[in-house]
């Protein structure tokens, strides 16, 4: 059955992921997460994810790919990917808060508000100058500088995001080299090669990183396709893991 419900807008990676899972009326577990992994990547590329949020999307994308790979290779474990919160648990609690926020929204709109006590003190005659004992020129100069210092990171946020993307770019070049070293190994081969487990993990992680990289650098072009060509020219068409990169 084809689902026609469109995901129109999402506020963050967990929002998108939850919408995908809920649209297909799936329970939150590893199997459902693996199932929507590809769509997650597609939506993420099709929408305009702000630069400063890209890293958060990449993190979730890499976790999804990892979950999918684990279903295919039950004994495949990577310590780095095991770090941090478990995506499944994270999404479940996120869902809990999203549900609670719907109740809150309904309550917000009823207009059944409370009011504080009305103030009458704004009458002119009640205003009298009270010297502020702790206000002096030094304190004020210092405070003004602090206010400006607090604003600067906010102004610079877009620039910082670009900087981060650039540093990821450099890391990608590095990864590319590693991947090339493994390029001779077919995608399928390294997945199946139990005797060269370490190679497999290295390649796989490199792949993941590359995928992450590609997201960051652009929406332009078909990155994943690119990976296919570089890594696995002879990967079987139906290889389920390879599909997640298409």
């Amino acid at each position: 059955m084809a689902y026609t419900v469109q995901i129109e807008h999402f506020e963050g990676p967990l929002d998108l992921l939850l919408q995908l899972v809920e649209r297909d009326e799936l329970a939150i577990n590893k199997i459902s997460l693996a199932r929507v992994a590809d769509q997650f990547v597609q939506y993420m590329q099709s929408d305009h994810v702000p630069a400063e949020e890209m890293a958060d999307f990449l993190l979730v994308a890499s976790k999804l790919v990892y979950i999918k790979s684990q279903l295919l290779l039950p004994d495949f474990k990577d310590e780095q990917m095991e770090e941090g919160p478990d995506l499944e648990a994270q999404l479940r609690q996120y869902q809990m808060f999203v549900n609670a926020s719907r109740d809150l929204d309904a309550a917000w709109k009823t207009g059944a508000k409370s009011f504080e006590r009305g103030s009458v003190i704004m009458r002119k005659r009640e205003i009298k100058f009270v010297p502020p004992v702790n206000a002096n020129l030094d304190v004020m100069q210092d405070l003004m500088k602090k206010v400006i210092a607090r604003l600067e990171p906010i102004i610079k946020m877009p620039k910082a995001a670009i900087k981060r993307a650039v540093s990821i770019h450099e890391r990608i070049d590095d990864l590319f080299k590693r991947i090339k070293m493994h390029a001779k190994m077919s995608f399928r081969h390294f997945l199946k090669d139990a005797t060269h487990k370490e190679d497999a993990i290295v390649s796989f992680l490199a792949l993941l990183e590359l995928v992450k990289q590609r997201f960051v650098v652009v929406n332009q072009g078909d990155l994943f396709h690119d990976i296919d060509i570089k890594i696995s020219p002879d990967a079987p068409e139906r290889d389920p893991l390879a599909e997640s990169f298409v």
């Binding site: 009270v130 304190v139 004020m140």
Partner: protein, 195 residues
């Protein structure tokens, strides 16, 4: 909710005396019903509350009971005097360096809602509303009394005035508030001090 409770809420929130007719209008009850509910309210408060219903002519107001006057004086005095909180001091400083500015502008620079703080600064006579508006909003600036307290004759004598007033971080931030070029033209003259 009973009428006496609704009347209590109305008088509490309005903070000023309200007439019988007005109360009847708001509650859509007859003046007789309002009068009897006010009597009920008065008795309930008399019996157990720290506040009471005061009547002058046909005007009604909630006030604190005289027995609590001593404690009440302490809190009111506290509001009016004593040191400024850090937040108040910060708002006052921004208004000194960058004023006159509107409340949304002040909030954009502070990153914090500033209604109460602005009100408190005005009660203390440190800040006043100016005659000119910007984008339909009143503007605020520090008072002459405050400058005198600092020993200054003009805000321009504040330390590093030109640099801090015209700092790009603040201009950029305020520009996000007024994206149109029209709004830009409305910015205070000292913007030309931008470096």
């Amino acid at each position: 909710m009973n009428l006496d409770q609704i009347l209590e809420a109305i008088l509490f929130a309005s903070g000023r005396p309200l007439g019988l007719r007005k109360l009847s209008e708001i509650t859509e009850a007859s003046t007789e019903e309002v009068e009897s509910a006010l009597e009920e309210l008065s008795q309930r408060l008399e019996a157990s509350s720290g506040i009471m219903l005061q009547e002058y002519g046909h005007n009604f107001e909630l006030v604190t009971k005289p027995n609590a006057a001593e404690a009440v004086k302490k809190v009111v005095k506290d509001d009016e005097q004593g040191e400024l909180t850090r937040a108040s001091l910060e708002a006052l400083t921004i208004l000194a360096y960058r004023g006159p500015m509107t409340r949304p502008e002040l909030e954009q620079v502070r990153g914090i809602q500033s209604t109460m703080i602005l009100r408190n600064l005005m009660i203390r006579g440190l800040v006043e509303q100016k005659d000119d508006e910007r984008l339909g909003q009143p503007t605020y600036a520090v008072t002459f009394d405050f400058l005198k307290h600092l020993g200054l004759s003009s805000v321009k004598d504040l330390p590093d005035y030109e640099v801090l007033r015209g700092h790009a971080a603040i201009s950029d931030m305020l520009e996000q508030l007024n994206p149109t070029s029209e709004a830009k033209a409305d910015l205070p003259a000292a913007d030309s001090l931008n470096v």
